[in-house]
């Protein structure tokens, strides 16, 4: 019964999205100047109720997974009654249909939030945005119902479920996809608002102020989702790496790059009324990248840990949706862009100039990542199989990232509209000095690659530069949004430092050791105490007992495992991590490799000492927190401003009423 309710809710939500689209479109078309069309009433409630229905549908699937309802095909093929409850629940989105339902539910929720909360825009622009949002939702409901129905029943209930890919049985799965999806799909609001503003010719600073919190919100979730996903891959896959330039990782990076550019450009539009069309273009680009990412991951053209299903029909469906939405958006853009008047001008040496430069750099990096991701698909058409990895991505993206970081250090120090380098020459000199000194010192002290060297030096410059906008200001009076920028920029420096340090100073040891033997990595002594068999709820494992000590320090015990799951049959390596303030010790255990001369069994150990690797994720968190601060600050300022306006209007009304008072007094009745 519950799954049928879910399916019914999905159909109703789809019907409401049609209503939202039609009512929104009609009210835009027929709105009398300044007035509201009779159709205008429907779009908002349709979006809100739709959000509720989509939530009901998702809750129904969640319930089916929680009770392991094996008459539902999706549960039978992806869950198992012996799984811990948490992983039963997170397993809801650990498969194609469930994750698409989550995607659509988030889409509907963003639409509902937009319709329910946003009252600042001209109503006609709002109606257009809601119509676009309804149109996007409709396509994805159709996709879900027609080719990925999560509620499909089995004619005969299965006796037992097949189980969930053990790599996905991890707390990381509870956090990573939902966070990422909120970010991905949250960009749909930016897309709808951009299209709405374009259609109704309302690309104004007011519009930018409305759009900004939505972009910031989506961007914060994307940032946190990518950070969480990176850490998850790092400790779960057991390969010791934190970013693999895997096509699926790239699919999340591309919307982030576009959203980062959009967030900065929308700020320029809000503050200075410049970059109007560029902001709209980025709004389209960001959500297009979200949809492209969904296509790449969901169509099965890529094989990776993330690709749950390989089904050409689904791929074609999403591709067609993608073409309709991106094509349609670009079509409207082409028709309307010339009608959007130019914004205010600015000099190259100005804060706008720096932001534009970095926007272009971000877009160029996006192009590099996009082309590298699609290249294997392209060559496969000619029957040449290639894979593209760090040797391409690292230097190619660095060519644009390095100038971007340099400008990012200086940009916030510049004034809006027009400035000169001379005004900030002391800061400039200090930053250049830091760059040179850091680079020379590091080059003398350590022998590392050029990219890592530049990364470390730039991180030092960025860390100082991020704090410079606070110089000479009363800290208590600095606006929250500015704190957000400082925090996010500082986070970039922290993350960059972590990345460069990891790539430059990681030490690795691979050895076959028997119990009692000690091996060294960096200044760590690692002793294998024993290897024992252990068992979990749905796995058995060989667990090593490692006693690790730094130099002469007190030893700590680490327990890496090599796990064997039986449903589905699969083996995973569970790494063990020891976190110190200046890095992480990362240990994995391999196989037994026979006996040594004394007859003791030898085991493979792979151990890394990764200096400051944790800074990568601390940095990611700081960046996300900065975004959150900026969002909170902007929303609070906006509420305050609106309250002020309201109060002034009320005062004005009161005064008018007082002035007009005597004349409108009712005649005393006789």
């Amino acid at each position: 019964m519950i799954p049928e309710i879910g399916l019914a809710a999905l159909w109703l939500a789809a019907a409401l999205s049609v209503l939202q689209l039609v009512a929104g479109a009609l009210s835009v078309k027929e709105a009398p100047a300044g007035g509201a069309s009779p159709f205008a009433f429907y779009a908002r409630p349709a979006a809100v109720v739709q959000a509720l229905l989509a939530t009901v549908a998702f809750a129904a699937l969640l319930y089916a997974f929680a009770v392991t309802d094996l008459s539902v095909k999706l549960v039978a093929t992806n869950s198992h009654s012996a799984k811990p409850l948490l992983y039963k629940l997170t397993g809801t989105w650990g498969n194609h249909e469930g994750s698409m339902l989550l995607w659509v539910a988030v889409l509907a929720l963003s639409g509902g939030l937009l319709a329910g909360l946003e009252r600042r825009l001209p109503e006609r622009t709002m109606q257009a945005a809601l119509a676009v949002q309804g149109f996007v939702a409709l396509g994805f409901y159709a996709f879900l119902i027609a080719s990925s129905n999560p509620f499909e029943r089995l004619p005969i209930p299965a006796a037992e479920g097949i189980g969930l890919n053990p790599l996905l049985q991890d707390i990381g799965l509870a956090l990573h996809p939902p966070t990422l999806y909120v970010g991905y799909v949250g960009l749909s609001v930016a897309f709808s608002l951009a299209m709405g503003a374009l259609i109704t010719r309302q690309v104004t600073p007011e519009f930018a102020r409305v759009m900004r919190p939505w972009v910031l919100g989506a961007w914060v979730f994307l940032t946190l989702g990518i950070t969480a996903g990176s850490y998850w891959a790092y400790y779960e896959l057991g390969w010791g790496g934190w970013w693999f330039w895997d096509p699926v990782e790239n699919s999340s990076l591309m919307p982030w790059l576009a959203a980062t550019a959009l967030m900065h450009s929308v700020s320029v539009l809000a503050a200075r009324d410049a970059l109007r069309t560029w902001t709209i273009m980025l709004g389209v680009l960001a959500f297009s990248m979200s949809m492209l990412g969904t296509f790449l991951v969901r169509s099965g053209v890529l094989t990776s840990v993330h690709a749950f299903a390989v089904d050409p029909e689904r791929g074609t469906f999403i591709l067609v949706l993608l073409l309709i939405y991106i094509g349609g958006a670009l079509g409207i853009f082409a028709m309307r862009a010339s009608a959007v008047a130019e914004g205010k001008t600015f000099a190259f040496t100005s804060r706008e100039g720096a932001l534009v430069f970095n926007n272009v750099m971000l877009t160029a990096i996006l192009a590099i990542v996009l082309l590298g991701t699609l290249y294997p698909l392209l060559t496969e058409a000619f029957d040449v199989r290639v894979s593209v990895g760090p040797p391409y991505f690292n230097p190619a993206s660095a060519m644009f990232a390095i100038p971007m970081f340099l400008v990012m250090a200086v940009g916030p120090l510049l004034r809006w509209k027009q400035d000169t380098a001379g005004r900030i020459n002391r800061e400039l000199a200090a930053l250049v000095a830091i760059l040179v000194v850091a680079a020379v010192l590091i080059a003398l002290l350590a022998e590392i690659s050029v990219l890592a060297l530049l990364g470390l030096a730039l991180a030092a410059v960025l860390a100082i530069a991020a704090l410079l906008p606070l110089r000479g200001r009363k800290l208590a009076r600095v606006p929250t949004a500015t704190w957000g920028m400082v925090c996010a920029h500082f986070g970039v420096a922290v993350a960059l430092f972590g990345m460069a340090s990891e790539s430059a100073f990681t030490e690795e040891k691979l050895a076959a050791v028997s119990a009692g033997e000690t091996t060294q990595v960096g200044d760590w002594n690692v002793t294998l105490s024993s290897v024992d068999a252990v068992a979990g709820p749905n796995w058995t494992a060989m667990e090593a007992r490692l006693s690790v000590a730094r130099g002469e320090g007190a030893p700590t015990v680490l327990n890496p495992q090599s796990r064997n799951f039986w449903s589905p049959v699969q083996a995973t390596s569970e790494s063990a991590l020891l976190t110190q303030w200046d890095g992480q010790l990362y240990a994995t255990i391999g196989q037994s490799v026979g006996v040594d001369d004394d007859g003791n069994e030898r085991w493979q150990l792979r151990i890394w000492w990764k200096p400051f690797v944790t800074f990568i994720w601390y940095g990611g968190l700081l960046v996300g927190f900065g975004g959150l601060l900026a969002m909170v600050g902007r929303i609070r300022d906006d509420l305050r401003r609106r309250k002020g306006v309201q109060r002034r209007e009320e005062e004005q009304a009161d005064i008018e009423e007082l002035n007009a008072g005597p004349r409108t007094l009712p005649e005393p009745a006789e």
Binding site: A367, R385, S387, A396
Partner: protein, 160 residues
């Protein structure tokens, strides 16, 4: 005068910005088009590698089946050697130092990332094996698994 001048300037600036943006993105495109064929990791089947070996040291990928009875563990405990077979009788010797993927056994499919060394052995830096019973590395999809294994079994009878 100034009133007619200002919009012109705005339009002019927009043109300049558009041109700069397009230039940067086209530049990125050219960079990618130049770097991709050089930096991409080409995929070889054993027979292709025997026939037309890649230059020594160039990062490539080698995919095929781990030929039965060729897997040997070296004394250091962390290095293995094995031969990889494809659709023909050609075999390529592979040396790998590291922890083997969990489902790596003789007769299973494998993709080795690495490069050819001067002595003709393919030195792998990473092995991708199937990591559950359903997943097969994409490059091996076209390869008839059992057939290839049988061919190897047939043609290596009587050899070491």
């Amino acid at each position: 005068m100034s009133q007619t001048n200002a919009p012109m300037k705005a339009k002019h600036q927009r043109m300049v910005l558009v041109v700069l943006a397009v230039l940067a993105i086209v530049g990125a495109g050219f960079l990618a088009a130049w770097a991709l064929p050089n930096q991409a990791n080409f995929f070889y089947l054993p027979e292709q590698m025997v026939e037309d070996p890649p230059e020594v040291g160039r990062a490539v990928r080698l995919g095929g089946m781990v030929a039965p009875e060729t897997l040997t563990q070296l004394d250091d405990g962390v290095t293995v050697e094995f031969k990889v077979s494809g659709n023909t009788a050609d075999l390529v010797q592979v040396r790998y130092t590291g922890i083997l993927p969990d489902l790596f056994v003789e007769g299973s499919g494998v993709v080795a990332e690495g490069s050819l060394s001067e002595d003709g052995v393919f030195v792998a830096t990473n092995l991708l094996a199937k990591h559950d019973e359903n997943y097969v590395p994409r490059e091996l999809e076209g390869l008839e698994q059992h057939q290839a294994a049988d061919v190897v079994a047939d043609t290596t009878v009587g050899l070491d």
